[in-house]
C-alpha cells in the first residue's frame, strides 16, 4: 500500500535534498505547509537548516508550532527540525515545541564550530536504526546540540556526548542528515518509512 509522506515546507531550506532522498527510495513526498494535509499524512518529515529564530517564526506564522506536537503519525525531525522539537533553544533563548524534554546548547569554542562531517553514533537503539550497521558514520553539520536525555536513542561525541537521535512515542528526531549520509542514512530513512504505530505502541 502506498503511503502519503509529507515534508513540512516552512522556508527553512534543505527540503529538496530530503525530497530527492525519498525519491531514491521510490517515495514521492509532498512538500506542504498546509495543516490539514500534514495532519492526515501517514508520515511527516520536519526538516530544517539554518537559524532557529526565523524558523520558529515561520512555524508560528503558519500555526505549525501548535500543530506539530499534536500529530499522532510517525514524525521525523531532521537537524534544525529535531532541535525545534526540543524544550529550550539557547540560540534564541526561546522555548522549542517541547516534544523532547532536552535543551539545545551551543558547542563550546574548544571545538571547531560547526561540527561538520562524518561522525559515528553510539548506543543506537530502536526501529530507526534497524539494520543500520552499528559502526555507521553519518553526516552532521550543526553548531548547536541537544543534550542527552531520556528520549535519546543514539549518541555522538564531539568534545562532549550529545543526542544524535531522539524518540518519544511517535516523534523521532535526528541531528545528522540521513538524506546526505550515504547508504547508512538511506537505511535509516527506509526504517522511518516502515515504522507503523503498532510497533510504536508496543
Amino acid at each position: 500500500m502506498s503511503q502519503q509522506v509529507v515534508i513540512i515546507d516552512y522556508g527553512a531550506g534543505n527540503i529538496q535534498s530530503v525530497q530527492f532522498a525519498l525519491e531514491r527510495l521510490g517515495v514521492k513526498a509532498q512538500l506542504t505547509s498546509d495543516a490539514t494535509q500534514i495532519a492526515k499524512a501517514d508520515k511527516v518529515i520536519f526538516p530544517g537548516v539554518g537559524h532557529a529564530t526565523p524558523a520558529l517564526k515561520a512555524l508560528q506564522e503558519k500555526g505549525l508550532d501548535t500543530l506539530i506536537p499534536t500529530l499522532t503519525q510517525p514524525v521525523l525531525g531532521i537537524c534544525l527540525g529535531m532541535q525545534l522539537m526540543c524544550n529550550y533553544l539557547e540560540e534564541n533563548n526561546a522555548n522549542g515545541l517541547g516534544i523532547f524534554s532536552v535543551d539545545v546548547r551551543k558547542f563550546l569554542a574548544t571545538q571547531k564550530v560547526p561540527h561538520m562531517g562524518w561522525n559515528k553514533i553510539d548506543n543506537a537503539q530502536g526501529a530507526l536504526f534497524k539494520e543500520a550497521p552499528s559502526d555507521a558514520y553519518l553526516y552532521f553539520v550543526h553548531s548547536y546540540f541537544a543534550n542527552i536525555g531520556e528520549s535519546t536513542i543514539a549518541e555522538t561525541n564531539y568534545g562532549i556526548p550529545f543526542s544524535a537521535a531522539l524518540q518519544k512515542a511517535n516523534f523521532y528526531g535526528c541531528q545528522f542528515h540521513p538524506e546526505k549520509s550515504g547508504d547508512a542514512g538511506e537505511q535509516i530513512l527506509r526504517n522511518f518509512l516502515t515504522i507503523n504505530l503498532i510497533t510504536i505502541n508496543h
Binding site: 531550506g13 535534498s17 571547531k112 561538520m116 562531517g117 561522525n119 558514520y137 553539520v141 550515504g182 547508504d183
Partner: protein
C-alpha cells in the same frame, strides 16, 4: 569521533567536467552526474563542483546540473564559481546543493558573507581563499589567483569567520599543481587563527601528503582534483592507508 573528509573537486564548464578526466570504467567521464556518482560510490566524503563557465546564461545550465547531482548522490556537496548574490546562492541551494562557496565576490563585497550566513546559516557558507607567500607574508589573490589583493590570509580568514563563514577552503597557490604536498604550516596557523573547519587544497600528489596534512596541519578535510581524476590515487586505497596510519576516517565499502 569526527572523521577527516576526502573531497574530490570537479571543474565544470557549460555542464561538463573539464580536463581530460580518464576513467576506463565510466561511460562518460565528462558527465558530472556520472562522475559524482562514481566518487560517491568510491567513498568520497563530500564533493565540490566549481563552475568555470564565463557567462550568466551558462550558469543556468549549472543550476540544472546541480539539481541532477542532488537527485543522484547521497553525500553532501558544495558548489561554487561566480556566485555573487544571495539570489544566485538561493537558486543553487534550492536545487539541492548543501553549501555554496564564494571567493572573489567575498573580497569585492565582504558583506555578502554576512548576507548569505543570515539568509541560509553559516553552515552552508564556504569562503574559498587563494593565497601565496609574497615576501614572507601570505597574500590573498582574487579572480582565480590572477589578481593580488592587499589582504593577508590570516586577517582575511578571521574577518570572513566574523562575518559568518562556516568553513574555509584554503588553496595554497605555491603548492597547487606541484604535487609536493599541502601547505601544512600555513594550514596549522589558519587552524589556530579561526575556529571553523578548514579544507586543505593544493599540492596533493601522493597518499603520504594526505596523512601528513591530517597529522600536522589541523585541516579537517583535504581537497584534490587531478590525483583522483587521473587515477593516481584511488579513494579506497587512500582511505585504507589513512586508517592504517591511525587517521580517523569514514570507513567505506
Amino acid at each position: 569521533m569526527l572523521t577527516k573528509r576526502i573531497i574530490p573537486c570537479l571543474d565544470i564548464k557549460e555542464g561538463r567536467t573539464v580536463k581530460g578526466i580518464n576513467f576506463k570504467n565510466l561511460v562518460d567521464a565528462g558527465d558530472p552526474v556520472e562522475l559524482a556518482s562514481y566518487y560517491s560510490d568510491q567513498g568520497a566524503d563530500e564533493l565540490v563542483f566549481l563552475d568555470i563557465s564565463a557567462t550568466a546564461e551558462k550558469r543556468k545550465t549549472f543550476a540544472a546540473l546541480v539539481r541532477k547531482i542532488a537527485q543522484k548522490i547521497n553525500i553532501p556537496f558544495t558548489v561554487g564559481g561566480g556566485i555573487a548574490s544571495v539570489a544566485e546562492a538561493r537558486t543553487l541551494l534550492l536545487a539541492g546543493a548543501d553549501k555554496i562557496s564564494i571567493n572573489s565576490a567575498a573580497i569585492r563585497n565582504p558583506t555578502l558573507i554576512k548576507e548569505l550566513s543570515e539568509a541560509f546559516g553559516g553552515q552552508c557558507v564556504v569562503v574559498a581563499i587563494d593565497a601565496k607567500k609574497v615576501d614572507d607574508t601570505w597574500r590573498v589573490y582574487s579572480v582565480g589567483g590572477a589578481k593580488p589583493t592587499s589582504l593577508n590570509l590570516f586577517t582575511w580568514a578571521k574577518e570572513v569567520v566574523k562575518l559568518g563563514a562556516g568553513e574555509i577552503l584554503f588553496t595554497s597557490m605555491d603548492n597547487d599543481g606541484t604535487k609536493q604536498g599541502f601547505a601544512n604550516k600555513a594550514l596549522l596557523q589558519l587552524s589556530k587563527t579561526v575556529n571553523v573547519p578548514i579544507i586543505a587544497s593544493g599540492g596533493a600528489g601522493e597518499i603520504a601528503h594526505f596523512t601528513e596534512t591530517f597529522r600536522t596541519s589541523g585541516a579537517d578535510a583535504a581537497l584534490a582534483a587531478s590525483v583522483f581524476h587521473f587515477n593516481q590515487i584511488t579513494i579506497p586505497q587512500l582511505k585504507k592507508e589513512l586508517h592504517t596510519q591511525g587517521i580517523a576516517i569514514r570507513k567505506t565499502p
